[in-house]
Amino acid sequence: MRHIPDGVLRRLDDEPLAVPDKVIDHVSACERCGARRAEIARDTELAARLLSAPQLVHDTDIAWARLRRELHRRPDEEPGRRRRPTSVGRRGTRLPRVSLRTGMVIAALGIVLAGSAVAASLTTVFAPTHVAPLSLSQSDLQSITAFMGLGDRRPLGGFATPSGSTTFRFGTITWSSGPAHPAPSRAAAAAEAGFPVSLPARLPAGVGAVRQFIVQPRANATVKFNSTAASLGGSSVTLDAGPAVVAEYSGATSGTDVPTLGVATMRRPTALSSGASLSQIEAFLLGQPGIPAQLVEEVRLLGDLRTTLPVPVPPGASVHSVQVAGWPGVVLADSSNAAAAVVWEDGRGMLHVVAGLLDTRDVLNVADQLG
């Protein structure tokens, strides 16, 4: 029998059932064909190694929502002339450089406030079981601030004092919370928060030891609607968030004072409403002029708001959906992938945030240890 062609030897590795038995017998007995097969297998292995890199899971729901939006927007446009679709990560400029602590605080506030905004606005009972990304542009934030009638007094960046109240277009907001403060140890932080604080056993290169634990006491905010809110008048929504513990890590190099990693754990926020149904609140707020149509669309795409905690995606950040130990999570990264964060809720009702001056892979490696 003639020697076996390279193409058949190649297929022998992938689909042996498609190769005749006499070919297999020949290769087994022929030293020359056996040596060529081994050489081919080495090239195949190299190609497989290079081309089969592990990947994050692409989120079909988000992709479908985006495609559907494109079809709505320009149903008649030919694909060849189509503008490149706008992705979540390309709506604005890159993330500003901020310190890790500032970043963690912003992230925590963002999550709480997004939960607050949505919970206070759109739900009667809010008890999220999973997280989902909510893309926010600067103009979205400005529009909401203007719509709420908050002006410069209370931008959506947090409350200026531990407790107080303020009015907005449709009523009043009252909040109270203790100030965030350091705890002397992990055990002390856990005891004060009332839940165990898990930390990763293996750290990415460049990350040093925990340099401090910060405890944010429980906070609550109540939104009371007045008569200008039409059918919502007299009803109120109370949001309960925290407590939270943040473990802040120093850099691995001695003498550097730049925190490189933060691990935050908090109880999921919940909300109770009285006097108005979910459909009433939702119809009222989403129907108001001034709320950007795209934001309304994004909120609707979140699905059941009673069980979904929106994670705000800042302009310029990229967002991926992932599984962290089996629980759905959201990964955010700046455009250079030099800073990243992952947010997820586990099955015990605890919300976790891992953020740092690390790339996406590193924060996911840390997250997987906490799962």
Partner: protein, 180 residues
């Protein structure tokens, strides 16, 4: 799931919406495979999503209601579109491509090595003959010999030959990169 049910209740359908539910089924069945193929070429999550979007938009118009035939087409289109992006980027600004593919300054040694290897792969894929690059990505993206044969318009028995040549060429180019 809740998300889906909620969305369908509220959203108006775009023009031609009568076939949208059927297209959604097709999209959900094939999106991840298509995005993965594009990702294998580009090594960039966001760019792969963009390519997948373009491919499905084109498929929506090209296959009005008959999505059985579209499954192979979207895969091939994803590979070719991604290669176009890769080569277009290379022509526009080779240096920028390197930065884009390598990404941020690495934080771990093995990550450095891995990223460099991937950046090297993108450069090599951009240099290989298009059919060789396509067959590599298709096979190592999970397509069978029969699917590749249909995609390339050749007999299934010829795919092994194309694949062998492509993998050999890949190894030679990688060696050349390593020693240059």
């Amino acid at each position: 799931m809740g998300l889906q049910a909620r969305r369908d209740e509220r959203w108006d359908r775009p023009e031609g919406g009568s076939r949208l539910p059927e297209f959604e089924v097709f999209f959900r069945a094939h999106y991840r495979a298509v995005a993965r193929l594009a990702h294998n070429v580009l090594g960039d999550f966001q760019a792969a999503q963009d390519v997948a979007q373009e491919v499905f938009l084109a498929a929506y118009r090209r296959f009005p209601g008959d999505y059985e035939q579209a499954a192979g087409w979207v895969r091939v289109a994803a590979v070719h579109s991604a290669l176009n992006v890769l080569r277009g980027d290379r022509r526009r600004d080779k240096r920028q491509l390197l930065v884009q593919m390598v990404g941020s300054p690495p934080s771990v040694e093995d990550t450095v090595i891995e990223r460099e290897a991937r950046a090297e792969l993108r450069r090599v894929l951009a240099r290989l003959p298009r059919r060789s690059a396509a067959v590599l990505v298709m096979r190592h993206g999970g397509m069978s010999y029969v699917e590749i044969a249909e995609a390339l318009g050749v007999k299934a028995g010829h795919v092994g030959t194309l694949l062998r040549r492509a993998e050999s060429a890949l190894r030679k180019e990688i060696d050349r990169e390593t020693h240059s």
